[in-house]
Symmetry: C2
Subunit: 465 residues, 2 copies
Amino acid sequence: MTTSATQTAASRNQTDKEQLTVMGAGLVGSLLSLYLARHGHRIQVFERRPDPRQAGAAAGRSINLALSDRGWRALEGIGIAEAVREVAIPMYGRVMHDAQGNLSYQPYGQPGQGIYSVSRGGLNRRLLDLAEAEPNIQLNFGQQCLEVDLREQQLHLRDSATGEEKHLGYQRLFGTDGAFSAVRSSMQRTDRFDYSQSYLEYGYKELTIASAADGTWQLEKHALHIWPRGRYMMIALPNLDGTFTCTLFFPFEGDESFAALRTPGQVQAFFERVFPDAVPLMPELIDDFFGNPTSSLVTVKCFPWVHEDDVVLLGDAAHAIVPFYGQGMNAGFEDCTVLDELLNAHAGDWGKVFQEFQRLRKPNADAVADLAVYNFVEMRDKVADPRFLLQKKIESKIAAQYPDQWLPLYSQVTFSHRPYAEAWANGQRQDAIMSRLMARIQSEEDYDRPEVQQLVQQEMAQVPA
Amino acid sequence: MTTSATQTAASRNQTDKEQLTVMGAGLVGSLLSLYLARHGHRIQVFERRPDPRQAGAAAGRSINLALSDRGWRALEGIGIAEAVREVAIPMYGRVMHDAQGNLSYQPYGQPGQGIYSVSRGGLNRRLLDLAEAEPNIQLNFGQQCLEVDLREQQLHLRDSATGEEKHLGYQRLFGTDGAFSAVRSSMQRTDRFDYSQSYLEYGYKELTIASAADGTWQLEKHALHIWPRGRYMMIALPNLDGTFTCTLFFPFEGDESFAALRTPGQVQAFFERVFPDAVPLMPELIDDFFGNPTSSLVTVKCFPWVHEDDVVLLGDAAHAIVPFYGQGMNAGFEDCTVLDELLNAHAGDWGKVFQEFQRLRKPNADAVADLAVYNFVEMRDKVADPRFLLQKKIESKIAAQYPDQWLPLYSQVTFSHRPYAEAWANGQRQDAIMSRLMARIQSEEDYDRPEVQQLVQQEMAQVPA
C-alpha cells in the first residue's frame, strides 16, 4: 500500500533530503520516524521520558490497547504487522456481565473479524528497536521540550538527568508529544490558533483480573469484557500472561464516585455489590484501587495543526480523544499513513504536504472525537438494554440482507479505512433509520413480517450503495 | 449600593486583613484593587506594561469603549461615576449609514437612555490615580508574570526594564491580566481545567474620522454610527476632541478582506465604493489603514475560575468576548460588583467567596459571550434590513403596551442588571414570539389590526410579568 519514497521520482531529488525533528517517541512518534526515514530523511527524535527499554525504566502496570484495521495498515506499511500480530490477542466480540453475573455476547463484526489487545509498552519498545536500527534515525531520551520558539525555529530543551538546558534549531518539526504537547502549547500562543481542552466528569483507574493458577485466562480470552452499569462501567482486555487489565470508568464526584469510595471496606462492598462475578478474580483489588492513580479523560481539539511549512502536529498532540472507541492509537497511526501518502504525492513540497494533511485529517479527527464520546454512552448504558441488543440483531439482519448498502457503524470505524467523518455521518443516518424501524419491531421474528420487510425496503431505497 | 467593608461585623475581624496580589492593572484590575482596599486589605498590584500615566508611555490611538449600566454601577460603588460621566459622551441610538450615504436612526432605549463613549486609556489612568492615592495599594509596573507556581503559591516575575527575574510568594491571587492571562495559562496546565480559545474569521482595524476645522463633530455626536454591509461593517464612536474612532470589522481572507486590500489604491477604491459618505471625513485613511495593526477577535471560555481558595480569575482572564455588544468592560466591572457583594456577605471565608463567585458568574459569562457573537450578525447584517427595522418598531410598540412583561433584549443587557444568562434566555423567547408575529405583519399599521392584536394578546398571556 505504501510505496517507499525511493521509488518516486520527486524524492530522488537530493534537495528533498532534510534533517527532520520529531518531538515525542511514543507510539505515533516512533512509527512516524520510521515512515520519515523511508523517505530518505535524517531524523532527530527527542523524548521527555527515559528509554523504556532500559533496565530501571518503570516496568509499570500492564496497559493494553485495542489495535484495529487502521492501526494494522500503518504497521503493515513498515513491515512489522506480522511480528506484532504474534503477540496480539484477537477479541471477536463484547461479553457483557450483568449485575447478577449473567453473560451475553455480541460479535464485533463478521466471523473472524476482531480487534486486538496489544501491550502499549511492548508495542512502543518494538517500534523503538526498529527506529534504533535505522542509521538515519537518532533517538534522544530524557529530553524535555520546555518551549518552541516558532519564529526562530528553535527548541528549548532540558535534560531530565542533568537539568542542563539548551537551545537547538530545527528545520522541520513534527509534534508527536501527546495530549499535553509542548509543541502545541507554543502554537497555542500564536494569533488565531483555535484550541479547546475539555474534560469528562469521569475518571478511570486500572485494576487487574488475575490469571488462573496454571497461567490461563479466567474469563473468555478472545473478547472484550464489559460490566455496563448505566452511569459507569468496568471493562477488561486480555494480556498474554493470562491476566486481564480492567479499567473502571467512574464519576469523580457524587453518590457512586471515586470521591465516595474512601476506605478499603467501601471499595470491597461496592465491587461485591455491582461487579459480583469479577471480585473473586481480583485478589489485588484493594491494593490496585488505592495504589494506582485516578486519571482524567480529556478531549483536545485545535486548529491549525501546522505552522507555516515547518511545524506539524500529529496524533494526540493534534487530536486527543477519550478511549471509548479504542481509536486513539489507531487514529494517530492513520495520521502516519496519510502523511506518508502525501509525502509520496508531493515529495519536497512540505508546505503542500502539511496543508493537505490538516485539510484531510482535521474533519476526521473531529469525527472520531465525537464517536468516542458517543460510544461511552453505548458501552456503559445501552449494551445493558435488551431493546438495544435487539436493535443490534436487527441491524445485523439488515447488513446481511443489504451487504453493499449497510455496514454497521462499528465496522466502518473499526474494520474499514473509510474516513471517520464519513463513517460518523453514515452512522447518524443509520441511527435515524433504526429508530424508525424499531418502532415497529418487538422481537427478532418481527423482522420477517411482510409489513416490516416493506418498511425496510422503503428505507433502503433511500440508502446509496 | 456597595457598603464599605468596615461597616460589616465580620470584616472588622483583624484576621480578615490580608496581603492580596492582583495581577494586571488594566480596567478590571485597577477597579478591583480599589474594591479590595475598601475591605481593609493590603494590595500588591503587578502590571506587565509600563505606567500609562508616565511621560513616554505610548500615547497610542484613541480607543473608546461603550460604558453602560453595569459598568456605571461598579464605578458608583467606588464613587467615581460622576467624574467619569463628565468626560463620557452619551450615545442615545444607532445611526445606520447605507451604501448610498442615506441615514436611518434607531434609539437604544427610552428617551434619555444611552450608552457612553469613554476613552479606554483615560478611564484606566483615572482608576490608577485613585488606586495610587490609596495607602493600602501598591502599584508595580513593568512586571511581567512568566508563570504562577500554584502549588508553591509563587509568582515568577520579570522586570521588563532590567530583565531581572524573581520569585515572589502570594497568599491570594486575583488574575485580572486579560484575554491572554498568564495566571490562567498556569491554571490551564492543572488537571481537569476546561479551556477554549476560539477566533472569528474576522479581524478589526481602527481608523479615524477627523473633527471639523472648528473642533466639532462631523457626524451626529450622540450616536453610535454603523455602516452595515452584510458580511462586514464599520462602526464609529465619538471622542471628546471632535474625532470619531472607527473600527472596521472585516474578514481576514476572501474577495473582500484584509488580505485582498494590499495597496493604497485598493483601499481607497474599496472605501469609496462601500463607505462613500465616510471617506471624505477620513483624510488619514491610508496612513491609518497601513499604519495600524489588524487585530484578531477571540472568545475565551474556561472553568474553574478558581484554584482552591487562593486564586481567582476575573474579567477577560476568565471570559474574553468579542466586542459587538459593548459588554466586555461592563461584564468585567460587574465581576467586581459581584465579588464585592460576596466579600460583604462572607468576609474572611475566601473559599466560599471564590466558589460563589464562579458559580454565580460563569453562566452569565457564557451568556454574554453568546450575546456578543449574536449582536455581530445583527449589527453587520440585520440592521440594514427593512424587515428587521420594522420588527424593532413593532417590538417597541409591544414594550410600550406591556411594560411589565417586555423589556427588549438590548435594554435587558445594556440598561438593566438582570443576569446575562436570564437576559439571553428571555431574548430567545422574545425572538420566537417576534418571528410568529412578524409572519402576520407587513407594516407598522398592521400592529393595530384586530387579528394581530388578538395574536399579541395570546402570546403575551404566556409571558410572565
